[in-house]
Symmetry: C2
Subunit: 321 residues, 2 copies
């Protein structure tokens, strides 16, 4: 292996936060060396527990994640924690950044907690891809626990959550009349439900609604997602949440599902990686000028885009052969 | 051209709803013949006005879209309307379907309004791709106006909205404490703001907040998105919304921006089409069995996925040459 890469890996694994930050940036931006770095890190990965947490804006995710991280840090095992805060709601300006800065200060004194915020990359599927790669880096860096936090419940979030071994869906009482429609999507990815701000009116009603929807039995396994009531701002219910997470992990182990889940996850991820790699090959044969001329032709209806793409693919193939 | 395709195109263009529905299904599912059909339809496209509407669950989008459609139907021009209702929030069960059925009944008697619901396809970027293709079919079928309605404000919705010439973002008063964070993403795609349910308390506050955010000037052009207050359930403000849409279209025309927008849109869409086409070529060389064996190997840490994908790409290239 490249000795520079090896030195970098050593720094990352010894806990050097700057080496880690640089690795994450390189991987996230697909900057030069990203692929060598991930290849070199891969043998060290697979040890971290990856927990995903998702919920609507205002559900109190950040507070809950902070409390969780704190508890894992101070518990018996003194886990090291990596937090990935994903915010797909601001695709252009990167809305996650400010929150990152503010929260960083809070944990600044504890090198055992590393926080990274990510907003959407430009390309399709980019966010799930970056999240998966950044989680791989944190895993390879030796973080015991990776918490992935994301806003909302659309396809983006589902893709992001696929990276996690355990998915926690956070609801709050009184989120509006149409909460039902959000839950339909949520029910299928939740391994554990949290009702945060449960001191508000309506927490028990939300719990009953979840129970009612659960009877529709959308899961392919026999796990019934537990419901944990929390008041994250006061630290209430966090211990119970940690227990629920541990229980689900025990269930996965007992049923031999962890490996099956990982294989399933990799099947999708390999296809996505393949898609990106194939596009890279195609893009390498196509200048930006050609692309924008093609786009202008289609916009002016001089060419049909379907035939055009077939021709480009054929050209790429010929050039690559 | 294939005479069957020509007959089909003729049926679609004569307004036959069954031929249209079949075309949409074929295109949406990439079923046999999709590409010939789109190629044959393309020369007829580019005439429809495409208006996108997005907002959080509970913002009253469906009601607003129905009212809009009704108005365009009964106005001076008696526009024919196609509605595409996109619901990315329920990726597995297809939450949009029920709503579709219910709403279809309402418009059942008017063949001038065609409604199609779409939930997320399995693959990444699938929803934006299907929406764009279905819009192309409706455009080619001769619909004067296409209304695309989607839930939420994540990357999915931004991708979906890219298909539209005009993007309307719908807000409602009192949607919770964290509305600010949603707006950050919204500000950049909105050509027009609607404050629906504006008879509720706080409508003017929402309007002030939008104005404040607008002063941050995130747009690359000189358009200041107007804010229209509506009560869709009572039909209030719909005429004003139609006027705002027309004004923006006039602005686009005056500034010669319509073609530039279309070229920009096609540039992104061509890359996505290329990505899919390249993946198809790769997948054709790779059996499902091979793929799941690879995934299992990676899950068991027998192989690193980054080297593996490089090898697959190299193999695909060799086989294709």
């Amino acid at each position: 292996m490249n000795p520079d890469i090896q030195r970098w890996i050593d720094q990352i694994r010894s806990g050097d936060p700057r080496a880690l930050a640089r690795a994450i940036s390189v991987v996230e931006n697909r900057a030069s060396g990203w692929s060598e770095l991930l290849k070199a890190l891969f043998p060290y990965t697979g040890k971290a527990r990856v927990i995903g947490l998702t919920g609507a804006p205002g559900a109190g995710k950040s507070t809950l994640v902070d409390q969780l991280a704190r508890l894992y840090r101070t518990g018996d095992q003194k886990h090291t924690v990596g937090i990935i805060a994903v915010d797909p709601t601001s695709p252009y300006t990167g809305g996650a950044i400010l929150g990152d800065r503010i929260r960083m200060q809070d944990h600044f004194s504890d090198p055992g907690i590393y926080i990274r915020s990510m907003a959407t990359r430009g390309s399709l599927g980019g966010l799930a891809r970056s999240t998966a790669d950044v989680a791989t880096v944190l895993d390879g860096a030796g973080r015991d626990l990776i918490l992935i936090e994301t806003v909302g419940v659309g396809q983006d979030e589902v893709d992001v959550m696929r990276v996690a071994d355990v998915t926690v869906v956070i609801l709050v009482p009184g989120m509006g009349d149409d909460v039902q429609s959000i839950k339909a999507g949520i029910m299928e990815i939740a391994d554990i439900f949290v009702i945060n701000k449960s001191d508000r009116e309506g927490a028990d009603r939300v719990e009953r609604e979840i129970r009612a929807l659960q009877s529709l039995a959308l899961r392919s396994d026999k796990w019934t997602p537990p419901i944990v009531q929390t008041v994250a701002s006061e630290g209430k219910g966090i211990v119970e949440l940690v227990e629920a997470i541990a229980e689900y992990e025990t269930y996965l182990k007992k049923e031999n599902l962890a490996l099956a889940h990982a294989a399933q996850h990799w099947q999708q991820r390999l296809v996505e990686m393949l898609r990106d790699a194939m596009l890279d090959r195609a893009r390498a044969q196509l200048t930006d000028g050609e692309l924008s001329r093609y786009a202008a032709d289609v916009a002016e209806h001089k060419r049909d885009p379907y035939t055009l793409v077939e021709e480009i693919v054929a050209d790429v193939w010929k050039a690559g052969a």
